[in-house]
Symmetry: C2
Subunit: 239 residues, 2 copies
């Protein structure tokens, strides 16, 4: 049975401008692979309402589960909650359960629950909250969409909260074999191997090191015996 | 005048599986920002023909220029040239000019120009070649789409070949100001600043360090005087 599928929507200008190098996508990709959920598509869009709505509607229609990161803080450029509500055609406003979480937190820290911080309690109708053990302001789940923070420590904590609620398939097993020959030399036999093991995914990732070409051949699949058999044949081919 | 826009399409399973952390997107984002071209959207898709065609057609219709990375090597999982041709509705086959480049190269190195390597000379009709000073096999430009390799050293060389052919706008200037206060404390005045400088982009990127919250406020714009004025007001607000 094929694994459940997922997509990720990264919201915010900081990666698109080259200011920040993505960390959340890489983290989520690894976690999903371990869980047996196939990450099939990632989109990165800027802080633009219509762009977020369009991307989210495309992704949630195409894949089983969607994870978003970014844009749920208190500042003017945090527009994700409103965009998600618009995508689902539901209302969004400060919700009592989220406000209570924030109120209890700021009562302890002594900071004021001002209008800006209250923005973080804006939750679309029908959503359930995602726990934020790092900085309290919750994420939320609406339909098949999990809306999470962009700060990596918070994002990772929210992923840890959400993943146990999802049903994964068989975890993907993989082997990686380094071949110190150019892809052009190995492509023919490798293509034949991929045909013989059509139930597996066989990828060739070329590299160049010290002026020499080589490739890492990654064999992925859910059936351990098949992955091992293909890996053994690969070793025989280019030994 | 607004800057020209761009999108990137990353093709291949290695980032989606968490095996590899992206490097090409980050490189391109920085180069485009310096050139005065706004990177507006990135999509990462797997080695799937229909998925590549759909993503490419959406991106090339929405933005001025599209850059792709990955999938133009000699192995069975390199399907980008065929997908690009399908997206444009043109034929693709081994082309004489590309074949000549490869033939001259392999004559020197002594490697055989076999069927697998010849795949790298498959160029869609109407495309112009992009020079590959690293490993010869060319990229190509078709319409507003620049198709480039996934190996970072080759990708970067191809970006360097293509960028001088594009007309950028005014390079984006930016300042980054670290505010050691939680976003909830600064969001109100920051929102007012963003309204007063609506011609600029003002982003707040929160961080958490040693248990304390803060934010880097990035102010971006093409007009140096405006960026400096906003940055000075920001400093006054939270000094």
């Amino acid at each position: 049975m094929p694994n459940p599928t997922a997509a990720m929507l990264v919201i915010g200008d900081e990666i698109l401008s080259g200011r920040t190098r993505d960390a959340n996508m890489h983290h989520l990709a690894g976690q999903l692979t371990e869980t047996g959920i196939d990450l099939k598509e990632v989109r990165i869009v800027s802080d633009d309402h219509d762009g977020i709505v369009a991307a989210l509607n495309a992704l949630r229609a195409a894949w089983d589960t969607v994870f978003t990161s970014g844009g749920i803080g208190p500042t003017h450029d945090d527009i994700t909650a409103d965009a998600v509500a618009a995508a689902f055609g539901v209302k969004v406003d400060v919700r009592d359960d989220a406000r209570a979480l924030l109120a209890a937190h700021y009562a302890k820290t002594g900071a004021e629950l001002n209008a800006a911080r209250l923005r973080m309690a804006r939750i679309p109708d029908g959503a359930t909250l995602i726990d934020n053990p790092v900085s309290v302001a919750p994420g939320f789940t609406l339909g098949n969409v999990h809306v999470m923070a962009g700060v990596p420590s918070v994002f990772q904590a929210m992923v840890a909260s959400v993943l146990p609620t999802l049903t994964g398939g068989a975890p993907l097993l993989s082997t990686s074999t380094r071949i110190d020959r150019g892809e052009g030399d190995i492509a023919g036999p490798l293509g034949d191997l991929a045909k013989a093991f059509a139930d597996l995914s066989i990828g060739s990732y070329p590299f160049q090191k010290d002026g020499k070409f080589g490739a890492n051949i990654v064999i992925r699949g859910q059936d351990k015996a098949r992955v091992e058999a293909a890996t053994a044949q690969l070793a025989d081919l280019f030994s």
